[in-house]
């Protein structure tokens, strides 16, 4: 076991920091003309990224300070007007709180629960085939589109013929039955619950891969020291993959601030705007209410939050880490 900085092993964003420190010179040096001509390898990809990813981002800042109607083409500068309106918009704050709630619950289920689940599978299930089968089954919902899982859960939550009310009835809890998505006090949690069902297997799979990379000798040493397999989960496995845990926390939170598809499909933000998240409020403000400048200002908020998380991720992944 040795300690070294391994930007190459630090994930995509770790690389950004790595590239900013170390040169990326190829093996063969050519004359200047050939060197410039060599740019053809990267130009197509680079151009697409610049035009479709970076340029709109810059433009979005300008739009966020404008009154903009994309259908009529109207565009006029209004300064910080959109932002002051945003500060006084209860639905904006409601959306932000919903995103935070989404992030918090997702961290519990898709990071902590998934981590323990992966550790339990890897240490307690003896047959390799069964381990693989469990990992795959839990992952399956992540292979389905959020439209499909969202619609599926809309049916599950339905008051008439819905599976959830049916189950509550079957176990004698029929007093809890309700229109889960039609009630503003349960709708958001119902959507978030669907999201946990959909996503926990994805992080479980990634944790399992990280656990498999822990060398067996460490477990053998722990066994010799009298640490039982269950306690090893907490004394060996979880401490040794804390890098992955940190990374998954950031990735999960970042995802929670970009939620859109499931909310659009299940409630479109209703009832009474109770399930709006930043993404759906942006969509509604722009594409339904024609207030594209305001929508661009919401986009700036999403940008700032996700960028902050990405920067944390870059710093996190480029730290010194334990490598075997």
């Amino acid at each position: 076991m040795s300690e070294r900085t391994t930007a190459e092993h630090a994930g995509p964003l770790g690389l950004v920091r790595y590239a900013s420190r170390v040169g990326g010179q190829g093996p063969t040096a050519g004359r200047t003309g050939r060197r410039w001509r060599a740019l053809v390898w990267v130009i197509p990809g680079l151009a697409l990224v610049l035009v479709f990813v970076y340029y709109p981002l810059v433009l979005n800042f300008w739009y966020s300070a404008s009154k903009l109607n994309l259908f009529t083409g109207e565009l006029s500068f209004v300064g910080l007007d959109n932002y002051t309106r945003m500060a006084n918009d209860p639905v904006f704050w409601r959306s932000l709180v919903n995103n935070v709630l989404y992030a918090g619950i997702s961290v519990v289920f898709q990071v902590f629960f998934a981590l323990v689940l992966a550790a339990v599978i890897e240490s307690q299930v003896k047959s390799g085939r069964w381990r693989a089968a469990l990992r795959s089954i839990y992952f399956l919902p992540s292979a389905m589109s959020l439209t499909v899982t969202g619609l599926l859960f809309s049916f599950i939550y339905q008051p008439e013929g819905g599976l959830l009310n049916g189950i509550l009835d079957a176990v004698g809890l029929d007093h809890l039955q309700q229109a889960w998505l039609g009630n503003s006090s349960t709708a958001m949690l119902a959507i978030i619950a669907m999201s946990q069902w959909q996503g926990f297997g994805y992080s479980t799979l990634l944790f399992a891969v990280a656990i498999q990379r822990i060398p067996n000798e460490i477990y053998e040493a722990a066994s010799i020291d009298g640490v039982g397999p269950f306690r090893q989960i907490f004394t060996v496995t979880i401490p040794l993959i804390r890098e992955m845990t940190g990374l998954m926390m950031i990735v999960t939170m970042s995802g929670a601030f970009q939620v859109f598809n499931e909310v659009m499909v299940m409630t479109s933000g209703g009832p009474d705007n109770s399930t709006h998240v930043l993404g759906t409020w942006l969509y509604r403000s722009g594409f339904v209410k024609n207030d594209f400048g305001y929508a661009a200002a919401i986009a700036v908020v999403i940008f700032v939050i996700t960028l902050a998380l990405a920067i944390v991720q870059v710093r996190y992944t480029s730290r010194k880490r334990v490598v075997w």
Binding site: P44, G45, V49, Q124, L140, T147, V265, A295, F303
Partner: protein
């Protein structure tokens, strides 16, 4: 396993005619309870995951009345006609659109990313580390943030509401990830083969196609399956940049179908099944590559 061993050990002790160790017995007992709890939990979770999916499949075989009555009942006479109705109501068209957009974006994303990865690892390029930072840095930007300016941009270029809108966006927003993935694989490949071929007079392009690409096959397969999964399931861009019914892809088309076909739930269930099954099959066929791509993509 160790629970079984412990039980056998006690059994042996009894057979010897000696008094069985009560501490061992008790420990074996709790161990067994623990194992049963773990097993029960894992199986319970399997049911929680699988049952809603089966419920979807079974729902597609029911009648509308059956769906609205008892959620646990099986269809009295399984009826496949819902699939025909789903396809007639647009799912057939959405499916073809999804295939076109996914296919084209897979080809473009993989090729452009492999070129970029090759250029960044094998060729001396001016400003190569800046270029690397810019491309991979694209991962930090949430697609939601770009949506409004992109409407204007795509309108100006006349590709708003066409296949090209989705193909170009699915490529541009996935080149950062895919380049990262392929680059991190290429960088570990020995470059001695390349250099030998170069000395033998092979051109850069020949080396790329004949030597590097075949050597990168495993990671290219990972890149392809992850891109298929992304493009097949993408919703935000598909909702905003395509409005024409005949150009919609499955995720948006299904949402439209469910809001229109409120009197034909079985058809909606059938449409959902049609959208989900190809990705589930893909996952089972290429699990190894899936896992590798996902794991390497987040940091190996």
């Amino acid at each position: 396993m160790s629970a079984t061993t412990a039980t056998i050990a006690t059994g042996v002790a009894r057979a010897d005619g000696r008094r069985p160790s009560t501490t061992l017995d008790r420990r074996a007992f709790w161990h067994l309870i623990g194992r049963l709890l773990v097993l029960g939990g894992l199986i319970g979770l399997v049911i929680i995951v699988i049952y809603p999916m089966l419920w979807m499949g079974i729902g597609s075989l029911k009648t509308n009345t059956e769906i609205l009555s008892d959620p646990f009942a099986l269809p009295a006479s399984p009826d496949l006609s819902s699939y025909g109705r789903a396809i007639d109501r647009g799912v057939g068209v959405y499916f073809v659109n999804s295939v076109i957009v996914t296919g084209a974006s897979v080809v473009f994303t993989t090729l452009l990313s492999a070129w970029a990865a090759y250029g960044l690892t094998r060729v001396t390029i001016p400003f190569s580390r800046t270029i690397l930072m810019v491309i991979v840095g694209g991962l930090m930007l949430a697609p939601t943030v770009a949506v409004i300016p992109l409407v204007k941009l795509l309108q100006a270029w006349g590709i708003y509401d066409t296949y090209w809108a989705l193909i170009l966006l699915y490529t541009a927003f996935r080149v950062p990830f895919t380049t990262f993935l392929i680059r991190s694989y290429m960088i570990d490949l020995p470059s001695s083969v390349d250099e030998a071929a170069f000395i033998d007079g092979a051109s850069r392009a020949q080396i790329f196609w004949r030597i590097t690409m075949p050597m990168c096959k495993p990671i290219l397969v990972s890149a392809v399956v992850l891109q298929i999964l992304f493009a097949w399931n993408e919703f935000l861009f598909a909702l905003i940049f395509v409005g024409t019914e005949s150009l919609k892809t499955l995720p948006v088309g299904l949402a439209t179908l469910s809001s229109r076909a409120v009197t034909d739930y079985p058809a909606v269930f059938a449409g959902m099944t049609i959208a989900a099954v190809p990705m589930i099959v893909l996952f089972f066929l290429s699990q190894k590559y899936f896992v590798r791509g996902l794991a390497d993509g987040i940091g190996k």
